[in-house]
């Protein structure tokens, strides 16, 4: 073991004159999990894409097993045994699951595609990932973000590569799927695969990585042996200063109910959901992937058809047929899938943020100045790292894109804010800012629903937690009951409480 199979030396990279990587060197050994952490926009994805041939460095050398390589495209990297799981899902929505898994490496029988074997092999790989219930013949677009992520992982694994790059693979997964993934990573490690693991979840990095490299503003600021460094030390290395407690003090909710939902049904997804939300409250929704949390939220926002159910806002019954109704009533929803639902990638930052609230900036024509000054407020507030506000969002790093979606969602000045995976792909520093923001937001007599696959987030942030399982709300946890064990017991159905 301990054989260096990948060596990147003094990598520099600039995008039309803006340099994002400075003399970065990194090594990968066989049978080793190499963590890569850093703030949003630090250059992690860029570095990984260079190694996998998706981008070309401006200067620097890459060696594989001692031999210098010069990848012009991902195919060349693939031939040398490099596979990458992208942070932004890179799947073809219109194709089926198995077609995605075997895209570009289809099995052929004479001149025809060998569908049967591909479907069979897909089943096996998905089973290895504990995802037997994903049908290889399902259309990609019908899968939830987490399932898509699992397919993306399946695709990379199917290549049997020597070097496997995972760019925030767990940002959309719950503990349960994460555990399965970790088991798989350990197996791959045994087989001598070299794995690069990018994540903002330091706990995971501690758990699965052997060594970790910290990037800050495009430079390597440290390389650590994971066994003798603490999470706090890593966090401090990332942001370059001390970081205190992540979670703000939990706010005191009032007795006044702001939102009440009675017997809401979404066929196949949500069954008789009823709950109350109080002013000043942060209500968490926990559950496994596919438990129906997103569908419930979308139904509340008018983005999904509900067959029955009543919604009361401030005691008054309201009709929400489409998102515009919800918006008018002051309900705002942050979608889970930022690339598909949250952003117009061809548009710049300003236009994305104000897309949902243009009427505020328009008399007859759009007041460009007002729009820009509002966008720069958000840039300050959430520390959006960009060249300027007119940069197309497709060129932002994943975490910074997420900040744009969050800004957009606040543009409607909601009284009820529904956040579906609000900190997906966001670094600790900004997470901290977002948590502070949520706490401040509900203090003004508003309320917030947080759906998150990160249990720590739910536990640290929420006054009350509803656990969903297979479309039903199976538990309500308050105060001391809000802890990991309880949530997992209810989420997996080991414990059940009639609600």
């Amino acid at each position: 073991m301990n054989k260096t199979i990948l060596r990147a030396e003094k990598i520099n990279k600039d995008f039309s004159g803006v340099q994002v990587l400075f003399d970065v060197s990194i090594n990968g050994e066989a049978g080793q999990v190499h963590g890569l952490i850093g703030e949003n926009g630090a250059g992690k994805s860029t570095l990984m894409k260079i190694i996998a041939g998706f981008l070309q460095p401006s200067s620097g050398k890459i060696f594989i097993e001692g031999q210098q390589v010069n990848f012009k495209n991902p195919l060349m990297a693939k031939k040398r045994g490099i596979a990458m799981i992208h942070q932004e899902l890179n799947l073809v929505e219109d194709l089926k699951v198995y077609e995605n898994i075997f895209l570009g490496k289809e099995f052929k029988h004479r001149f025809l595609l060998d569908k049967k074997s591909m479907i069979q092999r897909s089943k096996e790989i998905l089973k290895e990932l504990g995802e037997e219930e994903i049908d290889p013949l399902e259309d990609m677009r019908n899968l939830s973000v987490a399932k898509k992520q699992m397919v993306e992982i399946a695709r990379a694994i199917s290549e049997n590569s020597k070097i496997l790059i995972m760019d925030e693979p767990t940002s959309a997964l719950t503990e349960y799927e994460t555990e399965i993934l970790f088991k798989l990573i350990k197996e791959l490690k045994q087989k001598g695969v070299c794995i690069f693991y990018v994540s903002h979840r330091l706990k995971e990095v501690k758990e699965i990585c052997d060594v970790v490299t910290v990037l800050r503003d495009g430079r390597v600021v440290g390389e650590y042996d994971v066994s003798n460094v603490s999470e706090v030390e890593l966090a401090n290395a990332m942001v370059g200063r001390e970081l205190g407690n992540m979670y703000p003090e939990k706010p005191e909710p009032s007795d006044e109910v702001i939102l009440e939902v009675k017997n809401l049904n979404v066929p196949n997804f949500v069954e008789n959901a009823s709950f109350q939300l109080k002013k000043g409250e942060i209500l968490g929704f926990a559950g496994l992937v596919g438990a129906g949390r997103t569908e419930l939220a979308e139904a509340l926002a008018g983005l999904r058809h509900k067959t029955s159910g009543e919604v009361f806002l401030n005691g008054k019954k309201v009709q929400i047929e489409d998102y515009e109704d919800a918006k008018r009533l002051g309900i705002s929803y942050l979608p889970e899938d930022r690339k598909l639902h949250g952003l117009v990638l061809d548009m710049n930052i300003v236009n994305n943020i104000t897309l949902i609230s243009l009427e505020k900036y328009t008399r007859f024509l759009i007041d460009r100045k007002k729009e820009i000054s509002k966008a720069s407020e958000y840039k300050e507030k959430f520390d959006i790292r960009c060249r300027d506000l007119f940069q197309e969002v497709r060129y932002l790093s994943g975490g910074n894109q997420q900040k744009v979606v969050l800004s957009k969602c606040l543009e409607v000045e909601p009284q009820v804010l529904i956040l579906d995976e609000p900190t997906r792909g966001i670094d600790i520093n900004t997470k901290y800012q977002i948590y502070q923001f949520i706490a401040g937001f509900v203090k003004e007599g508003k309320a917030c629903i947080v759906i998150s696959s990160e249990l720590q987030e739910i536990i640290g942030l929420c006054n009350r937690v509803l656990v969903m399982r297979e479309g039903r709300i199976t538990a309500e946890l308050i105060g001391k009951e809000i802890n990991e064990e309880e949530i997992i017991l209810y989420a997996t159905g080991i414990k059940e409480r009639v609600h």
Partner: protein, 328 residues
Amino acid sequence: MPQESKKGFIDYLKNINYEKYGSLIALIVLFIIAGIANPIFFRPLNIMNILRQISYVGTIALGMTFVIISGGIDLSVGSMMALIGGIMIIVINQFGGNVLAIILAIIFGAALSVGLGLGTGLIVTKGKIAPFIATLGTMAIYRSLVLYFANGGEYRSISSIYPKIGGGKIPLGDSFFIPTPVIIFFVYAILCHIILEKTRFGRYVYAIGSNESAAIYSAIKVDRVKIITYIIVAFSVFLTSLMLSSRMNSVSSTSAGLGFELDAIAAVVIGGTSMKGGRGWIWGTVFGAIILGIINNMLNLLNVSPYLQGAVKGLVIIGAVLIQRKRT
């Protein structure tokens, strides 16, 4: 250090946004080539002639830009133009060909265009039929109606004042005139530019063309915006109908508007608007239309066989898209 400045210049060339300015660069280059090939090209009268000729398809292309940016297409514009023109002439003749008749015909033509656009929009959005198919259908329907009403012949206006609209000129100095179609085209271009870049509607058009789901998640009424784009293109068709039918004082049921859809789409695409939707601009379409006009004119001046003009046009379209293809 000459070497360094050379590198700087090449970098500068590399960093130009070809997707956007490619059409302008092509236009300038073509302009110079045409002038060198035949100096007659630079005569003001010739230039005015080119501009007048492109105003017709150009005006339709302006409307087409909205539809294409929103992710749609309208193939029916050519036959729609013949239909609206023909019906306007019928109205003029019915009411005796005086000023009042002309005003009535214009109102009727405009209203008809809005109605037709609304119809296409409804078929595409509520009927959920792909725009290509839907407008392939309406294209056949309109042409057939035009032929039927004229019995395969010509619509001839009895009015002596109608030609003054499309054939009109505004004098500029002693011997220089600007034809009304040119003025209409440029004023309309400015208006379209403002609508596309500075209004909510315009912003929504881009958003829908780029990512329709994200538009829905931004509380945008997607169907309504799409329908309006089809109304805009139909209204543009009406303007062209008015300019052309009045200039000729007649509409041929067999040949009026034939091939306009292809020229209009070509102008939009040469101008840098993406057929996939979500990206594009009005001035690009203006440049695209002028490029097509210059090519026709240049080939005429050089006595190239008219049969070959299509080949040249085709090459320019392919070339333009190649230059504009996004570089990373």
